[in-house]
Symmetry: C2
Subunit: 285 residues, 2 copies
Amino acid sequence: AMRVVALMNQKGGVGKTTTTVNLAAALADAGKRVLVVDLDPQAHASLHMGVDAASMGPRAEGESGGGASRARSAYDVLWDSALDPSPAILAVAERLSVLPAETDLAGIETELSELAPGERVTRLRAALAKVSDRFDAVLIDCPPSLGVLTLNGLVAADEVLIPMQAHFLALQGVSKLLETVQRVGQALNPGLSVLGVVLCMHDPTSTHVKEVVRDMEEFFAAGSASGQETPWKRARVLQPPIRRNIKLAECPSFGQTIFQYAPFCPGALDYAALGKAVIGMWADG
Amino acid sequence: AMRVVALMNQKGGVGKTTTTVNLAAALADAGKRVLVVDLDPQAHASLHMGVDAASMGPRAEGESGGGASRARSAYDVLWDSALDPSPAILAVAERLSVLPAETDLAGIETELSELAPGERVTRLRAALAKVSDRFDAVLIDCPPSLGVLTLNGLVAADEVLIPMQAHFLALQGVSKLLETVQRVGQALNPGLSVLGVVLCMHDPTSTHVKEVVRDMEEFFAAGSASGQETPWKRARVLQPPIRRNIKLAECPSFGQTIFQYAPFCPGALDYAALGKAVIGMWADG
Ligand SMILES: Nc1ncnc2c1ncn2[C@@H]1O[C@H](COP(=O)(O)OP(=O)(O)OP(=O)(O)O)[C@@H](O)[C@H]1O
Ligand SMILES: Nc1ncnc2c1ncn2[C@@H]1O[C@H](COP(=O)(O)OP(=O)(O)OP(=O)(O)O)[C@@H](O)[C@H]1O
Ligand SMILES: [Mg+2]
Ligand SMILES: [Mg+2]
């Protein structure tokens, strides 16, 4: 059955896009058929995978503002959930495809707000149902906000991964994030569970970083020990952390995943190991 | 005359808060009387300077939703630009004060939208005019967005600093940022000029980083050579870059600036040198 994972964190610049793209590539290398959905108007995941959202060009007459008869991006798919997303899905490598974003996505919040609240957040889920036989895993790159785009990601997802840096200031937003996941879980998506935190841009030598990691591990352990029914009761800090490695910042400029760019560098080794860890968690149930 | 500088970048996690607080502290060390204005509902600058926005507690009867008779944060000051900001301004070190944020700031976008567009972005400027004899420099920490809070920062400012990391993905948002500065400059604040880019979390050894820096330097050089009247015609990449230094990520957890926490570490040396560079630019006119 297709697993849908939302990579979310309302804090900016924490590693969501880098993790979505490279974890997707790791899963594809391990034999899974993977789709990346780019839900961010910045379109960085699309850019990272060699799709230039800016080169999509203006729309045909009658197709702007959501009038498309044929999907070319996540924008069309959210606008009209009756559209088949398949024409918009681009294969970028073996077993690895992307449903790209475009800058029009920035306006979707306003455009969808004309729908009833319950309706405006189920658009992506409806669209992904149409391709559930084609993919083993879907990874959704969310924008740095808790608005309608991220909510579409959370409602479409089975699981949530939270990329973050183990810094003090990064901890400050986590409780708000988990509240949002809980609210969505209760109201719209009862199966939604938090797989855990992916440590990004990690400095394994720093005492401060180790303390922040320990704080998070204690928080998750307390959550599971409490027996309380929260979406994070089985969450953990995933291993391994993804070390800071400049190659991860370079490969987006070539439209490549780390495995295409530098398959033996620390960044590639870490994401490959993370891919194995995620597959292991799926196998365990 | 009081110099007002907005530290802005709609991209998240690029070093706005770290730069606002530590550059402010460097300027204070160099003899300037400095005010930090925290315009971000995340209130990280406030936290960084030892002010716990969460501990402000609920408001008195009749004072919530902007009914305050006495300012306690940037929220009140934006809500009612007739209020004197002074009661909300807290001294945290010699010549260094902060006008803190609080989470209510998140709602101000909606609340201020009832005002005419031109009116809703001049609130901070009106408030700062009341304290212009008390400070030599005001540094405004903007949230990661181009909404009404950042616009208040841009309209109140004389100058803009753009903190960013010299990474490919970080370049993608810069043109949109400069467009916004230009629009605000033309419509609301003709004196607004971009001082330049502050390189944050800098890795001086990376070839990729050097290429990105060179791209930016060429862009600014072309801008000034063209003789065109843009807000960035005198902008540059400021020196020195601020190297990645874990101490800069640690000191917010103690509510301290880098100069209070580790005055001789690379992060402190870099921000001290940046402070001198900014003072030099002000002296040159
Ligand atoms: N492990 C790493 N080592 C070095 N650089 C990294 C690493 N992970 C991410 N980066 C770089 O850090 C920056 C931020 O990462 P990324 O874009 O993945 O974050 P994000 O959470 O998706 O940001 P946004 O909130 O803007 O969508 C990018 O320039 C990226 O190339
Ligand atoms: N030079 C540096 N070395 C090490 N860590 C740094 C450095 N500069 C900033 N950081 C850390 O990086 C993270 C992001 O920095 P910061 O909060 O200043 O960015 P920001 O642009 O204000 O983020 P936001 O968009 O969320 O307001 C923080 O955890 C901060 O402590
Ligand atoms: Mg991203
Ligand atoms: Mg900040």
